[in-house]
Symmetry: C2
Subunit: 525 residues, 2 copies
């Protein structure tokens, strides 16, 4: 072997991750590379690009002949949108804030195709941020609903179902209760609807200057919705409708993070946490009966993180008790709330270690762009505490040891692209850190977090931005199929349940593939 | 060893990059982690965090007692700014566009400290984007300067030094030449100064919607400046002043990318490229004579990339000829211009392979956030062509093989934080990909690209945003020293020159360290 060929061979060996750590390449090597013919250069280049592409998430997946045909349709549609973006980046939707392109995205042929796609399970979503705004507004027409407003009726502070004026005093001093019907008459129906459309979401576009401000607005929506949704019968209907909207959006399974709040009755009495779980279970079963192609749902108990250690002790006890009563339904634990302002996991290690092994952790961690703080160090604790998945993990790419462990231990990152944008972690989807996870073959699932608050579909918008904006140009049906299957693989479904789940998913997948190939032209714009 | 201890040991072994590829950890491992005491957990956690920190760029650098004292001052000042940011992220300058915080940054104690710091060499900067705007405006008072304006004098199109009205016809149709002095009288001096302050930079803040729009504005500044700067005597003064401004900003060495344009004389005749290089050389030597603590400068011939293959053949010939005449001064080659719109390196492989081995490549590549396109594949070609450094490499983190090779082959990424922000690759410095390079110990140098166009200091703003916004909370004097030394290590200085350069730098560094410790309070705000 001549000297120059040896250099190339060494280079190629060095490129493979396996070999990289074993070879000590002399730094002078790269200087001798010009001693090569253009043809040989072309071969070397192809090898290197192939090596990069084959290390991408999902790239090793083999497609059937039918899938290959569908892939051609998909690629044509995706490339068209990408090429338009290359020509004029100001027209590329993933370069913009979702608020500015929501309608444009909905008209996109790629979006419509992804909406039909069976996407498997939604593994990261929160209890009261699931349903469409229209459904929320419909709820405000229910009987016995009261609204508490401040600033001469200009600002909605709270809702409450009650037969007479609620005795509850909301935070605002000058807040006054009145029946919702009276409020609606007073201000005019259309005006109230438009007002609520804004109050129930992060819209209209506000140029938040920081994550903290975005989070204040975000948490205020949860607070406002509490009185509307925590009424037991409404809670059941809200959840059932969420399943219906997900199902229509190509979601067949849900793993829901819930605060498991105490619901209230019309007379103001509080119900038990058990009662809340019972509603979830009953409604899931009812939905399954009417939608046999649905796979099911499970619960992750996810109370607020900004608390004292002894409160976390109580959380663990509650979780154990609920899991005992609903062993295959309430299956995991997490802590929620603004990670940057709440307390880090390390503060709660003692009570958390008491959680029995069979109850999984699914910790939010690294939902931040601060680097090297107690916030992103939550990633380390999540992994050391044996988390089964990592919620958000936006900062994991800045932590090579944590990222390597996530890969080796097969801990997927729950990537929530739209949520990260709205909550001010990043703007342009092309800079989302999940691109590095895809490139490095680190397991991920795509999730939507709180789609209700940004008028997004239950899961499709996140798939759209992930596929078009975050993943590489070359990403195709392999990645989409990999992501859908991963959402079942990394779920809390038992082995037996998973087999059945995959069957249900495969059936819908095959139908979709056939449909894509058949009505290829139907997706054109 | 008990079962549970074994799990921890395996985990720790797995964390080390070396071991990672050799261990096949069972995925079930992470489920058993809760069987540990809180104390043992604490130890394991400390180890893991230590392992992460020690893999960071510069972390292994040992500091002297004096440096440790200075480091305490530095850390106090840095932490104060960071803590203010944690409390109220809207006040954190690296979360904003430089246009909005320029004055605030200049008042920052950390900025002032970094300004005094001997930062070594500036390895990525372009010929006509170096000097302060004030200096440029002063140049417009020189004798024999003509200005060509359109829209009834409202829009400056071109400048030209000439004894009588220039015969040159600029692009704009309705453009009309008049002596600069007449133009100034006509519009009023202050108005003209204010107008030029805008026209010579990317200011005032414009919310460009895409990289393309930002680049159009950017290139228009270069075009406007050509007639003003390409006049031989002005060219010399401009360059000399650039060295003076850099020197005042703590820069001791420059590796300049230049188009090496043909300059013009007052009579309109064109001078040779050799003449341009000669001016650079003469002025560098003149500057060195007056500033013996300066190290020097070298040139990289960097013509435009948006051309036909045969033009690149000519580039290579010119480069070889110029290098022959100035063997230790014109030492490298690059191609410049908007990478996303220009042609990819792969198109030019044939002529580029003809470049003799002793002339280094310093290719711009991956200055994009498109992923998996011919643009970021320039990274592959830059490396395969044996580039000595990578210009920008913004996309390298999405290319694990390229990133691994950059590390193994010791090819540093020239990180230009402010340029990337202004040219619309990313907004928040905390999301800049260089964070991943720092975390993964990939070699980098910090550079400023075109500081003139954004009113930035020659190098300090980039150091400030890199250190405060991109690097981790824990980054300290070790990183700064590492970056300064890297700028000499990765320069084109010969071994002998490098030894002398390091001596000159070390002298200033020691003075600075002593100064920081002494006037610790002087940096407080």
């Amino acid at each position: 072997m001549s000297g120059k060929v040896q250099v190339q061979v060494q280079l190629v060996r060095c490129m493979s991750g396996q070999a990289a750590s074993k070879i000590n390449l002399p730094a002078s090597l790269c200087r001798r590379l010009r001693d090569i013919t253009p043809d040989a250069y072309g071969t070397l280049r192809k090898m290197m690009i192939q090596m990069e592409r084959s290390s991408c998430l999902g790239s090793s997946l083999e497609l059937t002949a039918q899938e290959l045909a569908a892939n051609r349709v998909l690629k044509r549609i995706k490339c068209k949108e990408l090429e338009t973006g290359f020509q004029n980046p100001s027209q590329f939707t993933p370069g913009h804030h979702i608020y500015d392109v929501l309608q444009k995205v909905k008209r996109s042929p790629l979006f419509r195709m992804l909406q039909d796609m069976p996407k498997g399970g939604l593994l990261h979503a929160h209890d009261t941020a699931l349903c469409s705004t229209d459904f929320l507004i419909d709820l405000t027409y229910r009987e016995n609903l009261w609204i508490c407003t401040a600033n001469q009726g200009c600002q909605a502070i709270a809702f409450r179902f009650s037969q007479s004026e609620p005795v509850l005093k909301p935070a605002a001093d000058d807040c006054r209760w009145q029946p919702m019907s009276e409020y609606r008459e007073q201000h005019g129906e259309l005006k109230v609807r438009n007002y609520l459309r804004k109050r129930f979401t992060m819209y209209p576009f506000t140029n938040f200057v920081s994550t903290n401000e975005a989070w204040r607005k975000f948490m205020s929506i949860f607070t406002l919705l509490d009185g509307l949704l925590l009424h037991a019968p409404v809670w059941a209907d809200y959840y059932y409708n969420a399943l219906r909207e997900m199902h229509a959006d190509g979601v067949q399974y849900l793993e829901l993070r819930s605060l498991i709040p105490n619901l209230y009755s019309l007379d103001g009495s509080k119900l038990s946490m058990e009662n809340t779980v019972e509603i979830y279970k009953t409604e899931t079963e009812r939905f399954l009966k009417h939608h046999p192609d649905f796979i099911g749902a499970k619960l992750i108990y996810a109370p607020l993180r900004g608390v004292q250690t002894k409160v976390v002790e109580k959380y663990v006890e509650d979780c154990v008790a609920l899991n005992k009563k609903y062993p295959n339904f309430l299956i995991g634990f997490d802590l929620v709330g603004h990670e940057e302002m709440g307390r880090p996991l390390v503060d709660f290690v003692k009570p958390l270690l008491k959680m029995p092994e069979h109850i999984n952790f699914y910790f939010h961690s690294g939902e931040t762009n601060w680097f090297g703080t107690s916030i992103d160090e939550n990633l380390i604790d999540a992994i050391l505490l044996g988390t089964k998945r990592i919620g958000h993990g936006y900062a994991v790419v800045k932590h090579p040891v944590a990222m390597e462990l996530a890969k080796k231990l097969d801990i997927p990152i729950e990537v929530c692209p739209v949520s990260n944008q709205v909550l001010q972690l990043g703007h342009d989807y092309r800079n989302h850190p999940a691109a590095m996870l895809i490139a490095n073959n680190v397991p991920i699932v795509i999730a939507s977090d709180d789609p209700s608050f940004w008028h997004a579909s239950p899961l499709t918008h996140d798939f759209y931005f992930a596929f078009l904006g975050i993943a590489p140009y070359t990403a195709d049906l392999r990645l989409l199929k990999h992501l859908a299957m991963s959402s079942l693989k990394y779920s809390a479904l038992t082995a037996e349940e998973q087999t059945k789940a995959l069957e249900k998913w495969q059936k819908k997948w095959d139908e979709w593939i056939a449909c894509v190939t058949e009505k290829a032209e139907g997706y054109a714009d």
